[in-house]
Structures are given as structure tokens and as C-alpha cells.
Amino acid sequence: MSGPARDNPRSISPIFWLLFGAGGMVSALFGPALILITGLLAPTGTGIPESFLSYDHALAFARNPIGKLVLLAVIALFFWHGAERLFLTLKDMKAGPSLVLKLGTYGVAAAVTLATIGLLLAIGF
């Protein structure tokens, strides 16, 4: 009896949700390993040589097109993942007006994404 399709504008949530999902999946599959490698094994030199964290090595990685893609994917998607979850939780907590919350979460993720692209381009090939 009620016409569902009427008055039923399509939500743009899918955009954020898909980015969130992609970030969630990448972090679920590789997150623990990445943290272990870059945050614990490499800095302490456990099983990984000093040279791993050398400037040249890092720069070479960031200049490699595949390396660039990996960095972009990991940094941007991780931010989008966190942004979605933080936004929804803050909304649950009624922490502030929706627009402010959106700027503080999705806004940050978008800014970081753009910045990452900029930096990766600036670093050169």
C-alpha cells in the first residue's frame, strides 16, 4: 500500500561503505603482518636487516609504481576504514552535529588520500 520507491532518494553511503569494506578486508588480511614488520620487527632488527629502514630502500619502494600503489592503497583505505567506523560510533554516541562528525572523519580521510597522492607524485618515479 505504501509506495516505497517514492520519497526514497538513493543514499550515497555505498561510496563510503565500499571504501570502508576494502580497507577492512586489506587490513584483515595483511594488517597484523604490516604492523609486525614495520612497527616491531624492522625497528628492533628482529630477522630483518638494518637496511630495510634505510632512506634509500624506503625511497626506492616509494618510487616503484607498485610500491606507490601499495602505499596509496594501504594508507588511504585504512583511513577510510577508520573514518567510517569512527563516524558511526560518534554518531551512536551523539558526539556532535552530523556535519562536524563527517568533516572530522570522512573529511580527514579524504584529505589524507589527496595528500598521499600528492606526496607519492612529489617523490617522483
Binding site: G24, A28, I48, L71
Partner: protein, 132 residues
């Protein structure tokens, strides 16, 4: 004739902090750890772009006890994220039918978690192997 006057009981504002919703809130916040780690990497990228000195400072930070402690915490949070992520996975996909019966969610979660363990392990081993 009286009109009916339904009474609305609002949901308490802090429902998210109370059981049974507390676990859900914790799950959501574990996702924020993922972004924090993304932030650590992003900081590295900024340092890298700024040149070797800046990078050295970044590496110095990574080696600091603060950073190590932070990463241990992040690791714990992300492992929680991994576990809950795959608990949610069966909800987001169509029912898997094998031999005419729906595969139980627990099984899907179990298999996917194992798979995630394997991919992470593989990545660590590859890095360890390549850098040796």
C-alpha cells in the same frame, strides 16, 4: 472515545556503552586502530618526501619505546579487528549452499580467519626471506 496515546520510551543515550552493545562499540573502535596505523605510515611518507634527515627522525621514532608500545597496542587492536571482521563476514554475503545445505556461519568465520592468518604469515615470511 479516547484516542490512544502511545508512550515513547527513548533509547538511553549511552546504550553503546552498555551490554550487549559494548562489544559492538569495541569492535567499531578497533577499526580506528587500523586508521591510526595508516597515520603512522602516512607520517613516514611525509618524512620520506622531506628528505633523509626527516626520515632518520621518523626511524628514530619507530625505534623508540613509545612507538614499540604503540605498535604492540595497535597489533592487539587489529587482531581483534581481524577476528570480529570475519565474524561479520558471513552476514554480508549470500548463504553458501553446499550439498543442499547452508554452510554454518561459524565455519565460514573459522575458514576466513585461518585464511587471514595465512596471508599475514605469508607476508611476514616473504619479507623476512626477501630481506635476508
Amino acid at each position: 472515545m479516547n484516542e490512544s496515546r502511545p508512550y515513547r520510551r527513548p533509547q538511553p543515550g549511552n546504550w553503546w556503552a552498555k551490554p550487549p552493545y559494548r562489544a559492538y562499540t569495541a569492535r567499531e573502535l578497533s577499526g580506528v586502530a587500523v586508521a591510526i596505523y595508516g597515520g603512522v605510515l602516512f607520517a613516514g611518507l611525509v618524512s620520506l618526501a622531506r628528505g633523509p634527515e626527516n626520515w632518520a627522525g621518523y626511524v628514530g621514532f619507530l625505534k623508540s619505546p613509545t612507538s614499540l608500545a604503540l605498535h604492540v597496542l595497535l597489533l592487539a587492536a587489529v587482531v581483534y579487528h581481524v577476528i570480529t571482521w570475519f565474524q561479520t563476514l558471513p552476514k554480508t554475503m549470500p548463504k553458501l549452499i553446499v550439498n543442499g545445505e547452508a554452510v554454518p556461519a561459524k565455519k565460514i568465520t573459522g575458514l576466513a580467519t585461518l585464511l587471514a592468518g595465512a596471508t599475514s604469515l605469508a607476508l611476514v615470511l616473504v619479507v623476512l626471506g626477501v630481506t635476508r
